[in-house]
Symmetry: C2
Protein backbone atom coordinates (compact mmCIF):
# COMPACT_ATOMS: atom_id res chain seq x y z
CA UNK A 1 0.00 0.00 0.00
CA UNK A 2 0.95 3.59 -0.60
CA UNK A 3 -0.33 6.26 1.75
CA UNK A 4 -2.34 9.11 0.20
CA UNK A 5 0.57 11.43 0.83
CA UNK A 6 3.05 9.09 -0.81
CA UNK A 7 0.82 8.73 -3.89
CA UNK A 8 0.56 12.51 -4.14
CA UNK A 9 4.30 12.93 -3.65
CA UNK A 10 5.25 10.41 -6.37
CA UNK A 11 2.58 11.68 -8.81
CA UNK A 12 4.18 15.11 -8.40
CA UNK A 13 7.27 13.73 -10.12
CA UNK A 14 5.36 13.88 -13.42
CA UNK A 15 6.07 17.62 -13.15
CA UNK A 16 9.52 18.92 -14.01
CA UNK A 17 9.60 21.32 -11.06
CA UNK A 18 9.13 18.49 -8.59
CA UNK A 19 11.67 16.28 -10.37
CA UNK A 20 14.18 19.11 -10.15
CA UNK A 21 13.67 19.72 -6.44
CA UNK A 22 13.44 16.06 -5.40
CA UNK A 23 16.08 14.74 -7.85
CA UNK A 24 13.87 11.72 -8.61
CA UNK A 25 12.00 10.54 -11.70
CA UNK A 26 9.45 7.94 -12.78
CA UNK A 27 10.16 4.98 -15.08
CA UNK A 28 7.10 3.32 -16.66
CA UNK A 29 6.64 -0.15 -18.05
CA UNK A 30 8.25 -3.55 -17.74
CA UNK A 31 10.93 -3.26 -20.44
CA UNK A 32 12.23 0.13 -19.36
CA UNK A 33 12.31 -1.04 -15.75
CA UNK A 34 14.32 -4.11 -16.74
CA UNK A 35 16.97 -1.76 -18.13
CA UNK A 36 16.76 0.66 -15.22
CA UNK A 37 17.13 -2.09 -12.59
CA UNK A 38 20.23 -3.45 -14.36
CA UNK A 39 21.82 0.02 -14.36
CA UNK A 40 23.72 2.05 -11.79
CA UNK A 41 20.57 4.09 -10.98
CA UNK A 42 19.13 3.63 -7.48
CA UNK A 43 15.50 2.56 -7.24
CA UNK A 44 13.47 3.91 -4.31
CA UNK A 45 10.25 1.98 -4.87
CA UNK A 46 8.37 -0.14 -7.41
CA UNK A 47 4.57 0.18 -7.60
CA UNK A 48 2.54 -2.34 -9.58
CA UNK A 49 -0.99 -3.61 -9.97
CA UNK A 50 -2.02 -6.93 -8.53
CA UNK A 51 -2.37 -8.30 -12.07
CA UNK A 52 1.21 -7.33 -12.93
CA UNK A 53 2.44 -8.78 -9.63
CA UNK A 54 0.94 -12.16 -10.43
CA UNK A 55 2.01 -12.18 -14.06
CA UNK A 56 5.63 -11.11 -13.57
CA UNK A 57 6.36 -12.47 -10.11
CA UNK A 58 9.94 -13.23 -11.17
CA UNK A 59 10.76 -9.59 -11.92
CA UNK A 60 9.22 -8.55 -8.62
CA UNK A 61 11.21 -11.17 -6.73
CA UNK A 62 14.47 -9.94 -8.30
CA UNK A 63 13.64 -6.44 -7.08
CA UNK A 64 12.77 -7.62 -3.61
CA UNK A 65 16.04 -9.57 -3.45
CA UNK A 66 17.80 -6.25 -4.00
CA UNK A 67 15.92 -4.81 -1.02
CA UNK A 68 13.81 -2.56 -3.19
CA UNK A 69 10.47 -1.63 -1.66
CA UNK A 70 7.59 -3.06 -3.72
CA UNK A 71 3.96 -1.96 -3.29
CA UNK A 72 0.82 -3.31 -4.93
CA UNK A 73 -1.58 -0.49 -5.70
CA UNK A 74 -4.99 -0.22 -7.42
CA UNK A 75 -4.97 0.42 -11.16
CA UNK A 76 -6.58 3.87 -10.70
CA UNK A 77 -3.69 4.91 -8.42
CA UNK A 78 -1.10 3.55 -10.86
CA UNK A 79 -2.63 5.69 -13.60
CA UNK A 80 -1.94 8.78 -11.48
CA UNK A 81 1.77 7.92 -11.61
CA UNK A 82 1.83 7.43 -15.39
CA UNK A 83 2.37 9.73 -18.34
CA UNK A 84 1.05 7.17 -20.85
CA UNK A 85 -2.62 6.48 -21.49
CA UNK A 86 -2.29 2.69 -21.35
CA UNK A 87 0.26 1.96 -18.63
CA UNK A 88 1.65 -1.55 -18.41
CA UNK A 89 0.92 -2.02 -14.71
CA UNK A 90 4.27 -1.07 -13.18
CA UNK A 91 6.32 2.04 -12.43
CA UNK A 92 9.51 2.65 -10.50
CA UNK A 93 10.84 5.76 -8.79
CA UNK A 94 14.57 6.31 -9.38
CA UNK A 95 17.10 8.78 -8.09
CA UNK A 96 18.80 11.06 -10.58
CA UNK A 97 22.57 10.66 -10.70
CA UNK A 98 24.53 13.67 -9.57
CA UNK A 99 25.57 16.03 -12.32
CA UNK A 100 29.01 17.41 -12.98
CA UNK A 101 31.21 15.08 -10.98
CA UNK A 102 32.45 13.47 -14.15
CA UNK A 103 33.69 16.46 -16.13
CA UNK A 104 37.21 15.12 -15.91
CA UNK A 105 36.24 11.63 -17.06
CA UNK A 106 35.23 12.97 -20.46
CA UNK A 107 38.80 13.44 -21.63
CA UNK A 108 39.02 9.71 -22.23
CA UNK A 109 36.17 9.83 -24.77
CA UNK A 110 37.11 9.79 -28.44
CA UNK A 111 33.79 11.31 -29.50
CA UNK A 112 31.37 13.29 -27.35
CA UNK A 113 27.91 14.41 -28.47
CA UNK A 114 26.74 17.91 -27.52
CA UNK A 115 23.10 18.92 -28.01
CA UNK A 116 21.74 22.46 -28.24
CA UNK A 117 18.11 23.49 -28.40
CA UNK A 118 16.74 19.95 -28.80
CA UNK A 119 13.25 20.60 -27.44
CA UNK A 120 11.31 17.61 -28.72
CA UNK A 121 11.46 14.80 -26.12
CA UNK A 122 11.07 12.08 -28.79
CA UNK A 123 14.06 13.46 -30.68
CA UNK A 124 16.22 13.63 -27.54
CA UNK A 125 15.32 10.06 -26.53
CA UNK A 126 16.00 8.79 -30.04
CA UNK A 127 19.41 10.50 -30.16
CA UNK A 128 20.33 8.93 -26.79
CA UNK A 129 19.35 5.51 -28.16
CA UNK A 130 21.45 6.07 -31.30
CA UNK A 131 24.46 7.18 -29.23
CA UNK A 132 24.16 4.03 -27.13
CA UNK A 133 24.03 1.90 -30.31
CA UNK A 134 27.24 3.41 -31.64
CA UNK A 135 29.11 3.17 -28.36
CA UNK A 136 29.15 6.86 -27.48
CA UNK A 137 29.15 7.21 -23.73
CA UNK A 138 28.81 10.92 -22.95
CA UNK A 139 26.22 13.49 -23.97
CA UNK A 140 26.32 17.20 -23.10
CA UNK A 141 22.95 18.98 -22.98
CA UNK A 142 22.66 22.75 -23.18
CA UNK A 143 20.21 24.71 -21.06
CA UNK A 144 17.81 25.02 -24.01
CA UNK A 145 17.28 21.26 -24.39
CA UNK A 146 14.21 19.47 -23.05
CA UNK A 147 14.81 18.05 -19.57
CA UNK A 148 16.59 14.69 -19.61
CA UNK A 149 14.19 12.91 -17.22
CA UNK A 150 11.01 14.00 -18.98
CA UNK A 151 8.92 10.76 -19.18
CA UNK A 152 8.80 10.92 -23.01
CA UNK A 153 12.59 11.22 -23.22
CA UNK A 154 13.07 8.23 -20.90
CA UNK A 155 10.55 6.21 -22.94
CA UNK A 156 11.86 7.00 -26.40
CA UNK A 157 15.44 6.28 -25.28
CA UNK A 158 14.20 2.68 -24.85
CA UNK A 159 16.37 2.31 -21.76
CA UNK A 160 19.56 3.71 -23.30
CA UNK A 161 19.27 6.67 -20.93
CA UNK A 162 20.45 4.33 -18.16
CA UNK A 163 23.65 3.40 -19.98
CA UNK A 164 25.14 6.82 -20.75
CA UNK A 165 26.71 9.69 -18.84
CA UNK A 166 25.14 13.14 -19.15
CA UNK A 167 26.09 16.68 -18.32
CA UNK A 168 22.88 18.70 -18.17
CA UNK A 169 22.08 22.40 -18.41
CA UNK A 170 25.55 23.19 -19.64
CA UNK A 171 26.24 26.71 -20.86
CA UNK A 172 27.90 25.75 -24.15
CA UNK A 173 29.19 29.30 -24.71
CA UNK A 174 31.35 28.84 -21.62
CA UNK A 175 31.95 25.12 -21.80
CA UNK A 176 32.95 24.64 -25.45
CA UNK A 177 35.88 27.13 -25.35
CA UNK A 178 37.29 25.26 -22.35
CA UNK A 179 37.43 22.06 -24.44
CA UNK A 180 39.16 23.51 -27.49
CA UNK A 181 42.67 22.48 -26.48
CA UNK A 182 41.61 18.85 -25.99
CA UNK A 183 38.89 18.40 -28.60
CA UNK A 184 38.12 19.35 -32.19
CA UNK A 185 34.67 20.96 -32.30
CA UNK A 186 32.44 19.67 -35.11
CA UNK A 187 28.86 20.77 -35.80
CA UNK A 188 26.12 19.38 -38.03
CA UNK A 189 24.86 22.00 -40.46
CA UNK A 190 23.06 22.39 -43.78
CA UNK A 191 26.34 23.50 -45.34
CA UNK A 192 29.90 22.35 -44.72
CA UNK A 193 32.16 19.39 -45.42
CA UNK A 194 30.24 16.32 -46.58
CA UNK A 195 30.23 13.63 -43.89
CA UNK A 196 31.45 11.30 -46.66
CA UNK A 197 34.63 13.37 -47.03
CA UNK A 198 35.34 13.74 -43.34
CA UNK A 199 37.45 11.37 -41.26
CA UNK A 200 37.75 11.65 -37.53
CA UNK A 201 41.43 12.14 -36.70
CA UNK A 202 41.32 13.83 -33.30
CA UNK A 203 39.25 13.55 -30.18
CA UNK A 204 36.10 15.43 -31.11
CA UNK A 205 32.89 16.94 -29.85
CA UNK A 206 30.04 16.86 -32.38
CA UNK A 207 27.31 19.46 -31.84
CA UNK A 208 23.72 18.90 -33.01
CA UNK A 209 21.28 21.82 -32.90
CA UNK A 210 17.57 22.21 -33.58
CA UNK A 211 17.02 21.87 -37.34
CA UNK A 212 14.58 24.81 -37.25
CA UNK A 213 17.11 27.30 -35.92
CA UNK A 214 20.50 25.83 -36.85
CA UNK A 215 23.73 26.42 -34.99
CA UNK A 216 23.48 29.24 -32.44
CA UNK A 217 25.24 32.34 -33.76
CA UNK A 218 27.33 32.66 -30.61
CA UNK A 219 28.56 29.06 -30.90
CA UNK A 220 29.46 29.29 -34.59
CA UNK A 221 32.92 30.90 -34.07
CA UNK A 222 33.86 27.98 -31.79
CA UNK A 223 33.23 25.36 -34.49
CA UNK A 224 36.33 23.95 -36.24
CA UNK A 225 34.45 22.02 -38.92
CA UNK A 226 30.87 22.13 -40.14
CA UNK A 227 29.64 18.71 -41.29
CA UNK A 228 26.78 18.25 -43.70
CA UNK A 229 24.72 15.42 -45.24
CA UNK A 230 24.36 15.79 -48.98
CA UNK A 231 20.81 15.28 -50.20
CA UNK A 232 19.38 14.67 -53.64
CA UNK A 233 15.75 15.59 -53.19
CA UNK A 234 13.89 18.77 -52.37
CA UNK A 235 13.28 18.39 -48.64
CA UNK A 236 14.35 21.46 -46.67
CA UNK A 237 16.15 19.57 -43.95
CA UNK A 238 16.42 16.26 -42.13
CA UNK A 239 14.95 15.57 -38.71
CA UNK A 240 17.73 16.21 -36.16
CA UNK A 241 17.61 12.65 -34.77
CA UNK A 242 17.89 11.25 -38.32
CA UNK A 243 20.80 13.57 -39.08
CA UNK A 244 22.51 12.54 -35.85
CA UNK A 245 22.04 8.86 -36.75
CA UNK A 246 23.66 9.34 -40.16
CA UNK A 247 26.57 11.41 -38.87
CA UNK A 248 27.29 9.16 -35.89
CA UNK A 249 27.21 6.06 -38.09
CA UNK A 250 29.76 7.67 -40.40
CA UNK A 251 32.00 8.94 -37.61
CA UNK A 252 32.12 5.61 -35.75
CA UNK A 253 32.68 3.25 -38.69
CA UNK A 254 36.45 3.67 -38.88
CA UNK B 1 -17.75 32.41 -42.59
CA UNK B 2 -18.25 28.69 -42.27
CA UNK B 3 -21.74 27.35 -41.64
CA UNK B 4 -22.23 25.19 -38.54
CA UNK B 5 -22.61 22.16 -40.77
CA UNK B 6 -19.42 22.93 -42.69
CA UNK B 7 -17.46 23.35 -39.46
CA UNK B 8 -18.79 20.00 -38.23
CA UNK B 9 -18.01 18.34 -41.57
CA UNK B 10 -14.41 19.58 -41.70
CA UNK B 11 -13.77 18.86 -37.99
CA UNK B 12 -14.86 15.29 -38.76
CA UNK B 13 -11.75 14.94 -40.92
CA UNK B 14 -9.68 14.74 -37.72
CA UNK B 15 -11.07 11.17 -37.58
CA UNK B 16 -9.59 8.52 -39.82
CA UNK B 17 -13.00 7.04 -40.71
CA UNK B 18 -14.19 10.36 -42.12
CA UNK B 19 -10.92 10.95 -43.97
CA UNK B 20 -11.29 7.53 -45.58
CA UNK B 21 -14.86 8.06 -46.73
CA UNK B 22 -14.44 11.69 -47.86
CA UNK B 23 -10.89 11.29 -49.27
CA UNK B 24 -9.90 14.63 -47.74
CA UNK B 25 -7.49 15.64 -44.98
CA UNK B 26 -6.48 18.65 -42.89
CA UNK B 27 -3.15 20.48 -43.13
CA UNK B 28 -2.27 22.72 -40.17
CA UNK B 29 0.07 25.68 -39.94
CA UNK B 30 1.68 28.19 -42.24
CA UNK B 31 4.82 26.28 -43.21
CA UNK B 32 3.10 23.02 -44.06
CA UNK B 33 0.48 24.91 -46.06
CA UNK B 34 3.22 26.67 -48.03
CA UNK B 35 4.46 23.23 -49.12
CA UNK B 36 0.97 21.84 -49.73
CA UNK B 37 -0.09 24.80 -51.89
CA UNK B 38 3.05 24.44 -54.04
CA UNK B 39 2.29 20.73 -54.60
CA UNK B 40 0.00 18.82 -56.94
CA UNK B 41 -2.57 18.37 -54.15
CA UNK B 42 -5.90 20.17 -54.62
CA UNK B 43 -6.99 22.55 -51.88
CA UNK B 44 -10.73 22.83 -51.20
CA UNK B 45 -10.68 25.61 -48.63
CA UNK B 46 -8.38 27.60 -46.33
CA UNK B 47 -9.69 28.69 -42.92
CA UNK B 48 -7.77 31.23 -40.87
CA UNK B 49 -8.22 33.57 -37.95
CA UNK B 50 -8.56 37.30 -38.51
CA UNK B 51 -5.16 37.79 -36.87
CA UNK B 52 -3.50 35.38 -39.32
CA UNK B 53 -5.32 37.02 -42.24
CA UNK B 54 -3.89 40.41 -41.35
CA UNK B 55 -0.40 39.15 -40.59
CA UNK B 56 0.07 36.97 -43.68
CA UNK B 57 -2.10 38.74 -46.22
CA UNK B 58 0.37 37.84 -48.96
CA UNK B 59 -0.08 34.09 -48.49
CA UNK B 60 -3.85 34.52 -48.45
CA UNK B 61 -3.74 36.60 -51.64
CA UNK B 62 -1.70 33.88 -53.41
CA UNK B 63 -4.36 31.35 -52.46
CA UNK B 64 -7.20 33.59 -53.59
CA UNK B 65 -5.42 34.15 -56.92
CA UNK B 66 -5.59 30.38 -57.39
CA UNK B 67 -9.35 30.54 -56.83
CA UNK B 68 -9.11 28.77 -53.49
CA UNK B 69 -11.96 29.57 -51.14
CA UNK B 70 -10.68 31.41 -48.05
CA UNK B 71 -12.77 31.87 -44.90
CA UNK B 72 -11.98 33.87 -41.78
CA UNK B 73 -13.25 32.07 -38.69
CA UNK B 74 -13.11 32.68 -34.93
CA UNK B 75 -10.16 31.18 -33.06
CA UNK B 76 -12.45 28.83 -31.11
CA UNK B 77 -13.76 27.37 -34.39
CA UNK B 78 -10.24 27.00 -35.78
CA UNK B 79 -9.25 25.01 -32.71
CA UNK B 80 -11.99 22.50 -33.56
CA UNK B 81 -10.22 21.84 -36.87
CA UNK B 82 -6.80 21.35 -35.29
CA UNK B 83 -4.96 18.38 -33.86
CA UNK B 84 -2.32 20.56 -32.16
CA UNK B 85 -2.84 22.38 -28.89
CA UNK B 86 -1.37 25.68 -30.11
CA UNK B 87 -2.52 26.04 -33.70
CA UNK B 88 -0.87 28.72 -35.82
CA UNK B 89 -4.11 30.28 -37.01
CA UNK B 90 -4.57 28.57 -40.37
CA UNK B 91 -5.64 25.20 -41.74
CA UNK B 92 -6.39 23.93 -45.22
CA UNK B 93 -8.56 21.06 -46.44
CA UNK B 94 -6.94 19.01 -49.23
CA UNK B 95 -8.07 16.17 -51.42
CA UNK B 96 -6.18 12.89 -51.19
CA UNK B 97 -4.59 11.83 -54.43
CA UNK B 98 -6.00 8.66 -55.95
CA UNK B 99 -4.17 5.50 -54.99
CA UNK B 100 -2.89 2.80 -57.27
CA UNK B 101 -2.91 4.53 -60.64
CA UNK B 102 0.83 4.73 -60.58
CA UNK B 103 1.81 1.11 -60.04
CA UNK B 104 3.39 1.02 -63.45
CA UNK B 105 5.37 4.23 -62.94
CA UNK B 106 7.39 2.60 -60.21
CA UNK B 107 9.50 0.54 -62.59
CA UNK B 108 11.51 3.67 -63.37
CA UNK B 109 12.59 4.01 -59.75
CA UNK B 110 16.09 2.82 -58.83
CA UNK B 111 15.21 2.46 -55.17
CA UNK B 112 11.77 2.10 -53.62
CA UNK B 113 11.04 2.15 -49.89
CA UNK B 114 8.49 -0.33 -48.50
CA UNK B 115 7.22 0.02 -44.93
CA UNK B 116 5.59 -2.67 -42.82
CA UNK B 117 4.03 -2.27 -39.40
CA UNK B 118 5.23 1.33 -38.88
CA UNK B 119 2.58 2.37 -36.38
CA UNK B 120 4.10 5.48 -34.84
CA UNK B 121 3.00 8.55 -36.83
CA UNK B 122 6.15 10.48 -35.91
CA UNK B 123 8.34 7.68 -37.26
CA UNK B 124 6.37 7.47 -40.52
CA UNK B 125 6.52 11.23 -41.07
CA UNK B 126 10.24 11.28 -40.31
CA UNK B 127 10.92 8.43 -42.77
CA UNK B 128 8.97 10.30 -45.48
CA UNK B 129 11.08 13.41 -44.82
CA UNK B 130 14.30 11.36 -45.02
CA UNK B 131 13.19 9.72 -48.31
CA UNK B 132 12.49 13.14 -49.76
CA UNK B 133 15.95 14.35 -48.68
CA UNK B 134 17.68 11.46 -50.43
CA UNK B 135 15.66 11.76 -53.64
CA UNK B 136 13.51 8.66 -53.19
CA UNK B 137 10.17 9.26 -54.86
CA UNK B 138 7.97 6.24 -54.05
CA UNK B 139 6.94 4.67 -50.75
CA UNK B 140 4.84 1.53 -50.35
CA UNK B 141 2.85 1.24 -47.11
CA UNK B 142 1.49 -2.08 -45.88
CA UNK B 143 -1.95 -2.39 -44.30
CA UNK B 144 -0.40 -2.47 -40.83
CA UNK B 145 1.18 1.00 -41.08
CA UNK B 146 -0.39 4.07 -39.51
CA UNK B 147 -2.61 5.96 -41.97
CA UNK B 148 -0.68 8.29 -44.25
CA UNK B 149 -2.89 11.36 -43.74
CA UNK B 150 -2.95 11.14 -39.95
CA UNK B 151 -2.30 14.77 -38.83
CA UNK B 152 0.86 13.77 -36.92
CA UNK B 153 2.29 12.02 -39.99
CA UNK B 154 1.61 15.06 -42.16
CA UNK B 155 3.19 17.34 -39.56
CA UNK B 156 6.33 15.31 -38.89
CA UNK B 157 6.94 14.88 -42.63
CA UNK B 158 7.49 18.68 -42.63
CA UNK B 159 5.77 18.92 -46.01
CA UNK B 160 7.70 16.10 -47.67
CA UNK B 161 4.44 14.14 -47.84
CA UNK B 162 3.39 16.45 -50.68
CA UNK B 163 6.44 15.64 -52.78
CA UNK B 164 6.33 11.83 -52.89
CA UNK B 165 4.17 9.13 -54.44
CA UNK B 166 2.58 6.55 -52.14
CA UNK B 167 0.88 3.23 -52.51
CA UNK B 168 -1.17 2.66 -49.37
CA UNK B 169 -2.66 -0.41 -47.70
CA UNK B 170 -0.65 -2.72 -49.90
CA UNK B 171 -0.71 -6.43 -49.08
CA UNK B 172 3.05 -6.97 -49.20
CA UNK B 173 2.66 -10.76 -49.21
CA UNK B 174 0.98 -10.43 -52.60
CA UNK B 175 2.76 -7.37 -53.90
CA UNK B 176 6.40 -8.18 -53.19
CA UNK B 177 6.44 -11.50 -55.14
CA UNK B 178 5.09 -9.64 -58.17
CA UNK B 179 8.13 -7.32 -58.08
CA UNK B 180 10.80 -9.98 -57.81
CA UNK B 181 11.62 -10.15 -61.52
CA UNK B 182 12.19 -6.39 -61.68
CA UNK B 183 13.60 -5.59 -58.26
CA UNK B 184 16.01 -7.00 -55.71
CA UNK B 185 14.27 -7.18 -52.33
CA UNK B 186 16.36 -5.85 -49.42
CA UNK B 187 15.24 -5.66 -45.80
CA UNK B 188 16.70 -3.92 -42.75
CA UNK B 189 17.30 -6.38 -39.93
CA UNK B 190 19.35 -6.82 -36.75
CA UNK B 191 21.45 -9.43 -38.56
CA UNK B 192 22.64 -9.60 -42.16
CA UNK B 193 25.15 -7.96 -44.46
CA UNK B 194 26.62 -4.77 -43.01
CA UNK B 195 25.34 -1.72 -44.87
CA UNK B 196 29.02 -0.74 -45.17
CA UNK B 197 29.71 -3.89 -47.24
CA UNK B 198 26.67 -3.61 -49.48
CA UNK B 199 26.56 -1.80 -52.82
CA UNK B 200 23.36 -1.25 -54.74
CA UNK B 201 23.80 -2.89 -58.15
CA UNK B 202 20.19 -3.56 -59.22
CA UNK B 203 16.91 -1.77 -58.97
CA UNK B 204 15.86 -2.48 -55.41
CA UNK B 205 13.07 -2.31 -52.89
CA UNK B 206 14.21 -1.79 -49.31
CA UNK B 207 11.81 -2.94 -46.61
CA UNK B 208 11.73 -1.38 -43.14
CA UNK B 209 9.64 -3.04 -40.42
CA UNK B 210 8.76 -2.16 -36.84
CA UNK B 211 11.90 -2.53 -34.71
CA UNK B 212 9.85 -4.22 -31.98
CA UNK B 213 8.67 -7.11 -34.16
CA UNK B 214 11.24 -7.26 -36.96
CA UNK B 215 10.57 -8.58 -40.46
CA UNK B 216 7.23 -10.40 -40.76
CA UNK B 217 7.83 -14.17 -40.93
CA UNK B 218 5.78 -14.49 -44.10
CA UNK B 219 7.82 -11.80 -45.85
CA UNK B 220 11.19 -13.21 -44.85
CA UNK B 221 11.39 -15.83 -47.68
CA UNK B 222 10.88 -13.01 -50.23
CA UNK B 223 13.96 -11.11 -49.04
CA UNK B 224 17.09 -11.42 -51.21
CA UNK B 225 19.42 -9.62 -48.81
CA UNK B 226 19.15 -8.66 -45.17
CA UNK B 227 20.99 -5.43 -44.38
CA UNK B 228 22.20 -4.50 -40.94
CA UNK B 229 23.83 -1.57 -39.14
CA UNK B 230 26.75 -2.64 -36.99
CA UNK B 231 26.71 -1.14 -33.52
CA UNK B 232 29.37 -0.86 -30.85
CA UNK B 233 27.37 -0.20 -27.72
CA UNK B 234 24.78 -2.13 -25.77
CA UNK B 235 21.50 -0.69 -27.08
CA UNK B 236 19.06 -3.39 -28.18
CA UNK B 237 18.09 -1.73 -31.44
CA UNK B 238 17.89 1.56 -33.28
CA UNK B 239 14.72 3.55 -33.79
CA UNK B 240 13.29 2.53 -37.19
CA UNK B 241 13.39 6.09 -38.58
CA UNK B 242 17.05 6.40 -37.50
CA UNK B 243 17.87 3.02 -39.09
CA UNK B 244 16.11 4.08 -42.29
CA UNK B 245 18.11 7.33 -42.34
CA UNK B 246 21.42 5.49 -42.02
CA UNK B 247 20.59 2.84 -44.63
CA UNK B 248 19.15 5.29 -47.15
CA UNK B 249 22.17 7.57 -46.79
CA UNK B 250 24.46 4.62 -47.51
CA UNK B 251 22.40 3.31 -50.44
CA UNK B 252 22.11 6.69 -52.18
CA UNK B 253 25.72 7.89 -51.85
CA UNK B 254 27.08 6.02 -54.84
Amino acid sequence: MLSKNELKYYAGLLQRKKRDSERKFIVEGKRLLDEALKSKFDCEILCCTNQFYEQYSHQIKTAKDKNIRVEIIPNKDLQKLCDTKSPQGIIGIFEMPSNGNNLLDLIDDELIVALDNIRDPGNLGTIIRTCNWFGISSIILSESCVELFNPKVVRSSMGSIFNLTFLQRVNLKQWLPEQKDKFEILAADLTGTSIRDYDLSNKSIILFSSEAHGIDNELLPLVDEKITIKGKGNAESLNVASAAAIILENLTQH
